[in-house]
């Protein structure tokens, strides 16, 4: 099918985009990389009266490294992250996961802000942001506010975004020198959405300390597994007793199946992903 008719606006500044969104809120939708929204238009799942194209707003497309944080503009594309030396040196977790997000041509357009706003439960980026203890910077014509990634993803394709708000940027704290990371996903084919996956960060490797273990593709939203973290805390990444306890703790998580994979298989695959991610912790 072809996209329905809409009014197309291409503001050159964030303030102009916010004004357009404010004036047309019920009927307007933001267009970022279009790698999810364009298929939704073609399928007529989305039928906005107005598309506000963010692609010409340069101020949203920068990566700024401060002393303690890296601030990534919402319109920064996956390919731009992959090519960034700052991301390579400062954010190894994000860096190692990027090649697993979709395919090269999709990564050339898709944006970090678009992925966060969409909140696809099988997407990598929301889980990576939680595992990285990121904050989402939101703006509207009236105010700006910061929401932690922990609180931002509220449900199936649901986020804390309020009407009239745009994701301006995402701040990720620079990890300490002793921090280690793990990422593993199970897919049918490279680049597909994960059947199950996990993103892990720990402030220290031996013993493991202050972990964030976040599963994706297994529930209605990315899930931080606190019990799993507790089971692993103060152990090592190859402590089989602790790993068994961590996997057992997955039984308490509110997992959800999808059209391809039932909930029991999801739980099993989540355990496999966890084990493998721990083996590759670095």
């Amino acid at each position: 099918m072809k996209a329905p008719d809409f009014n197309y606006q291409r503001p050159a500044s964030l303030s102009a985009a916010l004004q357009l969104l404010h004036d047309n809120d019920q009927d307007a939708q933001l267009l970022a990389g279009g790698q999810s929204l364009m298929p939704m238009l073609h399928l007529r799942i989305a039928q906005p009266d107005m598309l506000i194209d963010l692609n010409r707003i340069d101020e949203l497309a920068t990566i700024d490294a401060g002393d303690a944080h890296i601030e990534i503009g919402s319109m920064v594309r996956y390919a731009q992250l992959e090519a960034s030396e700052q991301i390579k040196t400062c954010l190894p977790l994000i860096c190692s996961a990027l090649p697993h997000i979709a395919h090269s041509a999709i990564r050339n357009r898709g944006t970090i802000g678009g992925s966060a706003a969409l909140a696809d439960p099988a997407a990598e980026m929301p889980a990576l942001l939680i595992a990285s203890n990121a904050s989402i910077n939101l703006v509207s014509t009236k105010a700006s506010r910061v929401v932690s990634a922990d609180d931002f993803f509220t449900g199936l394709y649901e986020t804390a975004l309020q009407p009239g708000e745009i994701i301006k940027s995402i701040s990720i704290p620079k990890p300490g020198n002793n921090s280690v990371f793990g990422f593993y996903e199970i897919t049918r084919r490279h680049g597909d959405y994960a059947m199950a996956g996990v993103a892990i960060s720990a402030q220290q490797q031996s013993p493991l300390h202050k972990m964030r273990v976040v599963f994706f593709g297994v529930a209605e939203k990315p899930l931080r597994a606190h019990n799993c973290e507790q089971a692993l805390e103060n152990g090592t990444a190859n402590d089989s007793g602790a790993i068994d306890l961590a996997i057992k703790s997955l039984e308490q998580l509110p997992l959800m199946g999808d059209q391809h994979t039932g909930v029991d298989s999801k739980r099993h695959l989540a355990g496999v992903a966890l084990k493998r991610a721990l083996q590759e912790l670095h």
Binding site: K2, A3, N7, L41, M50, I106, H190
Partner: protein, 164 residues
């Protein structure tokens, strides 16, 4: 709402300057095919999944079905017709023919675009890396083996030339 909004766009397609008025809802690959007659890029799924519509916009390969023509205003676009004419994909086209890397040819323009991106980014003759790079392009005929053979051969040639 303003029905059937149209915008004027100016872009360069295969080295030729184009000025056109397009309805805003028209996507880039439909524009290239239907307005400019560049039917080398194919339309399969219109959901970004098959890769048949892959074209180059401002130096990066993108899905032609997931961009509006209006968004290409001011851009430089190259399609398979451009790659063929300029000789940029000549070695790949030759290798695809030699290895029988196409049957019906529906996937071929997109496959060549992705393969070209792989090679131009310095991709080497590593079958796993090649498969990973073309993982977003569907082929329903060849079973991929011959396509990987063809890309591997050209990557190998490039490596040897570089080494000399």
């Amino acid at each position: 709402m303003n029905h059937a909004q149209q915008v004027d766009i100016e872009l360069i397609v295969n080295h030729e300057k184009i000025n056109c008025r397009v309805p805003v809802r028209v996507n880039l690959v439909d524009f290239l095919r239907n307005e400019l007659g560049l039917t080398g890029s194919h339309v399969g799924c219109e959901q970004g999944v098959c890769g048949a519509c892959t074209v180059e916009v401002d130096g990066t390969m993108v899905r032609g079905c997931l961009m509006l023509a209006a968004q290409a205003d001011g851009s430089t676009v190259n399609t398979i017709e451009g790659f063929a004419e300029s000789g940029r994909a000549g070695h790949l086209q030759q290798a695809f023919a030699t290895h029988n890397a196409l049957q019906c040819g529906f996937c071929t323009p997109g496959m060549l675009a992705s393969a070209l991106e792989y090679l131009e980014q310095g991709g080497v003759a590593d079958r796993a890396a090649i498969r990973q790079h073309i993982s977003g392009n569907y082929c329903r005929c060849t079973g991929y083996q011959a396509i990987v053979d063809a890309i591997e051969e050209v990557a190998g040639q490039t490596e040897t030339t570089d080494g000399q």
